[in-house]
């Protein structure tokens, strides 16, 4: 099995158990917060006067434990990390919003979830905080329009994780975060001793053991490393249905599960220029044309609206492809012929980018189909494999007629539809958003 389970990533009326599961997760969450003392605003506020550092201890213990388990499971290949929601980075609104939250925290004495634990156990101040929360969230909804551009664009980096920021392997970041947390716990206890007059000799003696276990687990994550792109690629499965006509009666519909290599071998991911073109006018999908050729070839000729991402730089755009696109994005990769596009497709599929397809025969085939009447484009007899098969009078980019075929002229095009839209959850629904 591949975790997270695709049937559980979102609540759906079709599967009422999803509501139960999320309610159980929420229950455990609320229960733990209350039993840790977060229903009492004094315990929360004490964090900011150094008398009691419970907030920091609980929060960072939870973060490092969850982190080490998450990246351990991802390293062992049980968990597909690319399907795990990672809050996209909006630096400007995140930092300003965070500062505002900090003010609200110390003024009100709670954060949203702890106010739930507080209000539900009868604390009147917790109830007032909850009420105020509804007002605050409402006010944001009413005022967002005045700074929507800033809110949605300032300091936007997409799905960005700390290993990418510091150019370190993810396992190294895990170990460093654990060491930092342990140092903070030590510091927090010293502060409690000084400001809170706390007797540290009454603290559990097993703390160093716990710390040692954490460090050992962190080192294990480091040495396991991340699963290779190849191993992730080999695990991807595609489901296709095939209807077999029967002599008498309804056709039988078979469901076949293919590996990625079988999809290539059966040419199920190769779409004709006609289908790639028509995708633009299909309301149900949002095609993204990824041109993986060199910049020189791209400048000579490219399909209108295609994005140039040379094959050796495709890894750079994967985080963006993973976070931002709407659920119905279809990625159509193309090279001059197919070789480079197939390589790019394998990287996309290994990175869990859904709805990836290859332009059959590449740009050459596109020109052969849409540009056959363009006399300025002459076939190049000397073109090698996966090279441009035409000679161009000038590097006009997408200004040849065939780069943006006339939709009226090509109103009716016959093709065998290969694109089967696989809808993933709407990413905007993730996280607290």
């Amino acid at each position: 099995m591949n975790f997270p389970l695709p049937s559980l990533v979102a609540v759906s009326a079709a599967n009422p158990w999803t509501y139960v599961l999320f309610a159980v997760i929420g229950f455990a969450f609320g229960y733990t917060l209350e039993m840790s003392g977060f229903g009492d605003s004094r315990k929360l506020a004490a964090q900011f006067y150094f008398t009691e550092m419970t907030v920091l201890k609980v929060m960072f213990t939870a973060i490092v434990v969850a982190m080490v388990l998450l990246f351990g499971a991802a390293g062992l290949g049980i968990l597909d990390f690319s399907q795990v929601w990672v809050n996209p980075t909006y630096l400007a609104s995140g930092i300003l919003g965070g500062l505002i939250m900090g003010v609200g925290f110390i003024v009100g004495g709670f954060c949203p979830t702890t106010s739930l634990a507080s209000a539900s156990t009868g604390k009147i101040d917790g109830m007032f905080f909850m009420l105020g929360g509804f007002v605050g969230a409402y006010l944001f909804g009413e005022t967002e329009q005045y700074f929507t551009n800033w809110y949605n664009n300032a300091g936007y980096y997409g799905r960005l994780t700390l290993d990418q920021v510091f150019h370190l392997p993810i396992g190294a970041v895990v170990v460093l975060v654990i060491l930092m947390a342990l140092f903070m716990f030590w510091g927090a206890e010293q502060l409690e001793r000084i400001f809170g007059k706390k007797d540290l000799s009454k603290e559990p003696k097993l703390r160093p053991v716990g710390a040692a276990i954490l460090v050992a687990m962190g080192l294990a994550v480091f040495f396991i490393g991340s699963p290779s792109l190849e191993s992730k690629y080999n695990k991807v499965k595609f489901t296709r249905t095939e209807s077999v006509p029967q002599l008498n009666g309804d056709p039988v519909v078979n469901t076949i599960v293919y590996t990625a290599d079988e999809m290539l071998a059966n040419r199920l991911v190769f779409i004709t220029p006609a289908e790639a073109f028509k995708a633009k006018y299909n309301q149900s999908m949002n095609p993204v044309y990824l041109d993986v050729r060199s910049e020189a070839d791209y400048n000579l000729y490219h399909i209108e609206g295609s994005v140039n991402v040379p094959l050796d730089r495709i890894n750079e755009v994967i985080p963006v492809l993973l976070t931002e696109p709407p659920a119905n994005s279809v990625f159509i990769v193309m090279s001059n012929d197919e070789a480079a596009a197939v390589k790019a497709w394998k990287i996309l599929v290994g990175s869990s980018i859904q709805n990836s397809y290859i332009l059959e025969g590449g740009v050459n085939n596109w020109i052969a189909f849409f540009g056959k009447d363009d006399k300025t484009l002459r076939p190049n007899p000397n073109a090698g494999e996966d090279q441009l098969g035409y000679l161009f009078p000038a590097a006009l980019g997408s200004r040849y007629d065939s780069c943006s075929p006339n939709p009226q002229e090509y109103e009716t095009l016959e093709f065998e539809a290969k694109i089967i839209l696989q809808l993933k959850r709407d990413k905007s629904g993730g996280g607290c958003g």
Binding site: F22, I25, G26, T32, S118, E144, G431
Partner: protein, 181 residues
Amino acid sequence: MTTQTRKSIFRRPEKAYVHPYIGGIVLGIILFLAFFLTGNGLGSSGATARIDAAVVDAVSPSHVDNNPYLLKMAGGDKNPFDDWIVPVFFGALFGGFSSGFFNGRLKFMTTKGPNISNQTRWLMSFLGGVIFLYGARMARGCTSGQALSGGATLSAGSWAVMLAIFAGAYATAYFVRKSWL
């Protein structure tokens, strides 16, 4: 403690809170399981916004139609409650209540510093809630959705949010010390 148990189930003997590190380990395992099974972390402020959107949608649907931010959650055929965060929110309310129930902490009271009246504390709580949720919506997540969940997945933006929360609170603490000390 036997004298306290006689009245009703709501008068269970009050138990001590668990040790912070134990609470943290349990919370970490829950957070991991949430990610592992569903790909989503924990959160709650999103539900507050969604409940707001549902109320606005019920009171004035045309207002939703004129507000792009609310339109992402409500309006048309969209049900603002159709999101995982909503059952998590109500689950957390019930979970907090249950822990209070089993540990003898169900009690109408106001938690506050010694030098502040109940009424002032309520006002401050309310104000804090307004400010916090405004910031939480701006940062696209609160202490749970950003700091906790994003912290565990090592999201760069979430770590920035987390540091900003602590910075904002420490910077303000001196000015509201009368509430707590």
